[in-house]
């Protein structure tokens, strides 16, 4: 008896039975237990043919290679910098990955990145023990000047960015702000002081209603 128990896009909780039957394939965020496919975390249920999967609604950030993140320089090492990535694990930015320019031997590393500087960087390596390397070499990767950084739920980042960046563009156009989104849940906002509250309000609204339909229209309303 093959049966999908829960409706597509329903909110499900850990342990909840999503589908019954051996024909279903447990995708991301789900697991098989006997005849049943169950949810492994809090999320939105989705069925794609025979694959049952889950879009998480929450969860701590898990570092992945090639993720673009926003981070803060917290220490200067002998051969690089230590970076705070908004998680239990700090990352290392090595000399060779810091810039396309040549860094001479014995140079004062503070000239490149100082403590409390914020950067957008890319994760280049993650070991099983969560030793993380980042790189600043790549399009758009740079030190962030001015503006401020806010924290959001990392699970909501895809919705904040939107399909092909459509949602974040809406906010940028509506407020004239420059916004950079880190996969790790840090967001950098640079806006005129009068517009700043609107930027954060829009982002918080998306965070709160990411799972509901019609969000794009609601966000458009904020900027009318």
């Amino acid at each position: 008896m093959e049966k999908v128990i829960v409706k597509n896009r329903d909110v499900v909780v850990p342990g909840e039975v999503l589908a019954e039957g051996m024909g279903f394939v447990p995708g991301d965020g789900t697991y098989r237990e006997g005849d049943n496919v169950r949810a492994a975390r809090l999320g939105l249920m989705g069925v794609d043919g025979k694959v049952v999967k889950l879009t998480p609604l929450a969860g701590p950030y898990v570092h992945k290679v090639n993720d673009r993140i926003i981070a803060r320089v917290k220490d200067i090492l002998m051969t690089g910098w230590r970076i705070d990535t908004n998680s239990a694990y700090s990352a290392v930015l090595g000399l060779a990955e810091a810039t396309s320019d040549f860094i001479p031997r014995g140079a004062d590393l503070k000239q490149y990145f100082d403590i409390d500087d914020w950067v957008i960087c890319k994760i280049s390596k993650v070991t099983s023990q969560k030793l993380i390397d980042v790189s600043m070499k790549g399009p758009g990767l740079r030190k962030l000047i001015g503006g401020r950084v806010i924290k959001v739920n990392p699970a909501k980042v895809p919705r904040i960015i939107g399909k092909e960046g459509s949602m974040i563009s809406l906010i940028k156009e509506g407020t004239g702000a420059d916004i950079q989104v880190g996969q790790n849940g840090f967001l950098w906002i640079k806006a005129e002081p009068e517009k700043d509250p609107k930027v954060e309000a829009a982002i918080r609204k998306i965070e709160a209603e990411a799972h509901l339909p019609g969000l794009t229209e609601k966000v458009k309303e904020l900027f009318k």
């Binding site: 500087d117 401020r148 002081p193 009068e194 700043d196 509250p197 954060e200």
Partner: protein, 253 residues
């Protein structure tokens, strides 16, 4: 970088949530929130939330004050309420909050400890006020001060039977309160003065002044905090702000 941005915004008279510099977030006071306590209140200011409970006990008075009961005020910065509050013994931050809140009530004699005497030299009431933070989004001095007053207003003596407290029976007699002192804390970041900071604003402030104001608009306690300095003009302005804001907060009681 975040700090520079904040100073720029404050210079334009605007804050991240659209408030003016002398504006509080929405203030809400709910009384009688814990039935285990003799009196209690929950205060929310924006996203900051604190619960305050009053417990009462009957004991022998201290030998040097045989006709007086005792007041004790304690603040617990629960690790539940913020990442930066870690489990462990009270920190400087928690101790300062406890002592400043205590002084605001004690020095104004808002609670008449002489009226807490049952039998001179034998039995007096001890009133113990505990504030537990539930969500720390800044502005705790004022939230706790307001909560302590509200909890005390809500408190009723338990019945005293032959010198022993019966916690299962509550009388309808309240504790002897007057003057309703409330703290208003004005923060300073760069040259800018503002009230009721969010936690982001609070962490970037250089200094603050907590001013406890009574219903008659007198000042009964002051505490300057933070590593920065205040000019004499600053102090006068800050006290002026407090005298204006305290009656507004008092309306929530």
């Amino acid at each position: 970088m975040n700090r520079e941005h904040l100073l720029k915004a404050l210079a334009k008279g605007v804050r991240y949530d659209g408030r003016k510099l002398d504006e509080y977030r929405p203030v809400k006071v709910e009384k009688d929130v814990s039935h285990s306590a003799e009196g209690s209140a929950k205060v929310t200011i924006g996203a900051t939330e604190v619960i305050v409970g009053v417990k009462m006990g009957c004991e022998k008075p201290y030998s040097d004050t045989p006709e007086e009961g005792n007041l004790m005020v304690n603040v617990e910065l629960l690790p539940l309420s913020a990442d930066r509050h870690e489990p462990g013994p009270p920190t400087q931050e928690g101790i300062e909050l406890s002592r400043v809140t205590d002084r605001g009530i004690r020095e104004s004699k808002a609670l008449d400890v002489k009226k807490l005497c049952v039998t001179k030299g034998e039995l007096v009431w001890n009133i113990m006020v505990d504030a537990c933070t539930l969500n720390d989004d800044g502005g705790m001095f004022d939230a706790i001060g307001l909560g302590a007053m509200a909890a005390l207003q809500n408190a009723k003596y338990p019945e005293l039977e032959d010198g022993v407290v019966n916690y299962d029976k509550k009388s309808d007699v309240g504790v002897p309160l007057d003057r309703d002192p409330l703290p208003v804390t004005v923060y300073k970041a760069g040259p800018h003065l503002f009230v009721d900071p969010t936690i982001q604003e609070q962490l970037f402030a250089d200094s603050r002044l907590t001013i406890s104001v009574t219903r008659e608009n007198t000042i009964v306690a002051l505490q300057k905090g933070g590593p920065g300095t205040l000019t004499v003009a600053d102090i006068d302005t800050m006290v002026g702000i407090a005298l204006k804001k305290a009656p507004e907060l008092r309306k929530a009681l």
